[in-house]
Symmetry: C2
Subunit: 451 residues, 2 copies
């Protein structure tokens, strides 16, 4: 068995870490980076040059004036990734698509098309849309409730995976001598009839290089974790502390095992904000300076998002934190509950909650290259993560990681030295699911198909 190695992802223009609310102000990042395909291509190529496994594109379909800057106007993930695909050759391309407002046939086709275009580097970050307002852009009076959102998501992924198995290898002989283009015996209609979807199939796109593009998932709610354990192959999460990360990864692996899956087929990649300088002290000063730039007013407005964009500006800042969890029932419920619990447990006022959240945006991955490398290695060896998703976009800051931290991790054998495969699945070391019909054929005629 090959040695387990740390996986590397780069989140392009995600928002979440300290100082990221005003990424657009960074002198090295063009103000219109989120609509500039050439900026994305350059970042993906830099990540590929450093041997990263994947780039990841976040997404949403609902905005308000208070949305994070780059969310107000940004390229659609699949069109963007397709453009990146033809200017890169090894790095994985992971796009976010919601199961709540896309048809499974269209999702299956677009991701499979990307898998063909990229030579086997497509990944799907499955989301259910947390902004309740999204419903208004899709002819619905209100967003789906949690059980429906996640019930649809699970069935949606199952349908997409079923459509991806529409063709076995060899379904298209395309033999110009004999004139045989197609072998109908290797084409299979899905004929799915479920609770939320009825999809006949087959897909109109043959088996792709990966066969099954890689499934990514990030939900943190009970329903979200259950979905991740059921169908996720890579779980995006956050990493506030070693203990929390370890507990999360352990729980996910146990849930997957309880569902009969091999936990090795489930990788956990927290998004981490690395802050690197020559010395630990300089790095801490750098983080302090960055945290100090966020305005209280903006933080107060952004606090509304998990609560269904609840308007917190209308409350007395020095009164106890208001209970507005009801507004979060069709939004980011788990996040809203965690914030409310934090306020209750500590008796925080609204002002204190905002200040605490700003301060607690501190990253555990701050320090000299040796310190950051050591922390990552420690978390990896302790079983707190299988890889990291770097949320740094400024080229010089990203280069501090690739040029100064990665060499240390490679020296120690934590990170592989070169790409080991041409596919994302191959580089992540994930098993290649056999086509279900080929598997059935093999079971029925073991001799005929023995390797």
């Amino acid at each position: 068995m090959p040695r387990r190695t740390l996986k590397l992802g780069a989140v392009l223009l995600g928002v979440g870490g300290p100082g990221q609310h005003n990424t657009w102000l960074h002198p090295e990042i063009p103000g219109d980076a989120s609509v500039d395909v050439h900026w994305y291509i350059a970042r993906a190529r830099a990540a590929e040059a450093a041997g990263f496994d994947l780039v990841f594109i976040v997404d949403s379909q609902f905005i308000t004036e208070n949305s994070p800057h780059h969310y107000l106007s940004r390229l659609e993930p699949l069109t963007l990734l397709s453009a990146i695909a033809v200017h890169t050759s090894r790095i994985g391309l992971v796009g976010t698509l919601t199961t709540s407002y896309n048809e499974p046939f269209n999702v299956a086709r677009r991701l499979y098309s990307l898998d063909h275009i990229s030579g086997g580097r497509a990944g799907w970050n499955v989301v259910t849309s947390g902004d309740a307002g999204t419903a208004g852009n899709y002819s619905r009076d209100e967003h789906y409730d949690y059980p429906t959102r996640y019930g649809r998501a699970l069935e949606h992924v199952q349908v997409v995976r079923g459509l991806w198995d529409s063709y076995e290898d060899g379904a298209f002989p395309r033999d110009k001598e004999t004139g045989v283009f197609f072998d109908p015996d290797r084409q299979h209609a899905l004929n799915h009839k479920g609770e939320y979807f009825s999809v006949a199939g087959p897909l109109n796109l043959e088996r792709s290089p990966q066969g099954q593009p890689v499934i990514f998932q990030a939900g943190d709610s009970e329903e979200g974790r259950d979905l991740g354990a059921a169908v996720g192959e890579v779980i995006f999460t956050h990493a506030a502390s070693l203990e929390q990360a370890k507990a999360f990864r352990t729980e996910l692996r146990e849930r997957a095992a309880a569902k009969g899956r091999d936990p090795e087929g489930l990788l956990t990649l927290p998004g981490i904000q690395v802050v690197i300088a020559d010395t630990d002290e300089e790095a801490r000063a750098k983080e302090d300076a960055r945290l100090g730039t966020k305005s209280f007013d903006r933080a107060l407005r952004e606090l509304g998002r998990p609560f269904g964009w609840h308007d917190f500006t209308r409350y007395d800042l020095d009164a106890p934190f208001p209970d507005v969890r009801a507004d979060a029932q069709r939004s980011f419920r788990t996040q809203a509950e965690a914030i409310t619990k934090l306020a209750r447990d500590n008796g925080f006022t609204l002002r204190q909650v905002v200040e605490h959240l700003n301060a607690s945006a501190r990253s555990p991955f701050v320090g000299s290259p040796e310190t950051v490398a050591g922390t990552i290695e420690h978390w990896f060896e302790e079983g707190a993560l299988d890889g990291v998703n770097i949320t740094v976009n400024a080229p010089s800051e990203f280069a501090l990681f690739t040029d100064r931290v990665l060499p240390i991790l490679r020296e120690r054998g934590v990170v592989r030295r070169e790409y080991e495969s041409t596919t994302l699945r191959g580089n992540l070391g994930l098993p290649v699911p056999e086509n279900r019909y080929t598997a059935a054929r093999r079971a029925a005629e073991p001799a005929a198909l023995a390797p």
Copy 2:
């Protein structure tokens, strides 16, 4: 007013002209061209080098064993065009997306994303899906009937166009000095509530280089023509004869004028199969040879498509043509009716219909370079077309057109010598629709906004 010039489109792997049923057998075309992004990029670059206005990608979401070869397995249009976009710089990129099985918000966003990625070269071929079986891939018991299909299509396009006006120019100052990223006064929610769709908006993507990507349309039914006259800017059609083409273009222009539109904003581009050789005689022989390659059996099966994939193999070939128009009510009704009328008017048997259709697949654009150039010029000057959509994929055949026919047309001033714009809209000479809110602002404060 600049001289009217002939527009040029290249249909990549469309099916329709003589001999195209077995394009895949052509020695110059890879058998798997329809899933090979590099093949498409090479063809688009060849068309761009020849100064073509656009490449066009056809699409469908339902297949049967008898579907045209390249339809069985092909890349999804928008992911494909995005990949082509970043390997070309001037040619327009027109993709087919159905209004029947896509949400307007998603369509608006994907096309706008392509317009940003390509620097203003996106076009949308609006279709309603003619294959009734498509419904089964989208959780519907049956396809929409004609009035609903086209009612939805019109409203869908209106919503998409409304979403494209979500932002005026200047909505994103992104001034790093002042810290102003966004000007909410230049963002507008659509708040559409219609018969088929309710879409609040705004879109999460700023005004694109074209402002409004170009709308293409091809329906030939009464409802289809009405949609084209209402919202189409370029109409794809076929061209069996000069008279028919002229009557079609005249009718479309009259319909558009009756709707209060300037007919100059509506271009008609028939798809044409050019067959070129040194002499007219050699060209005719070349076409004969190509027509002769189609098997009767395959033609009989493909005849089923407009009739909702009706199975014609079960009839006596020498009995009168059966009346199966009922099966076409939710499919390609107009095409099915035309075939039935042909059979009735001529008293044709089923066998005669198939033979007649195969023989009538002859192109009017067959001959020496001088003959073909002359025919195109004549049709253009007679008002039968505003441009042609070349349906030839073999590089050597395409080169006969670009290297031998186009120079003649350029010499005569029928085709422009160089790209005149960086956008598709600019190259097609179509007016640039002003943002509706900017227009309203201008009307309200004429002095402030005067140029």
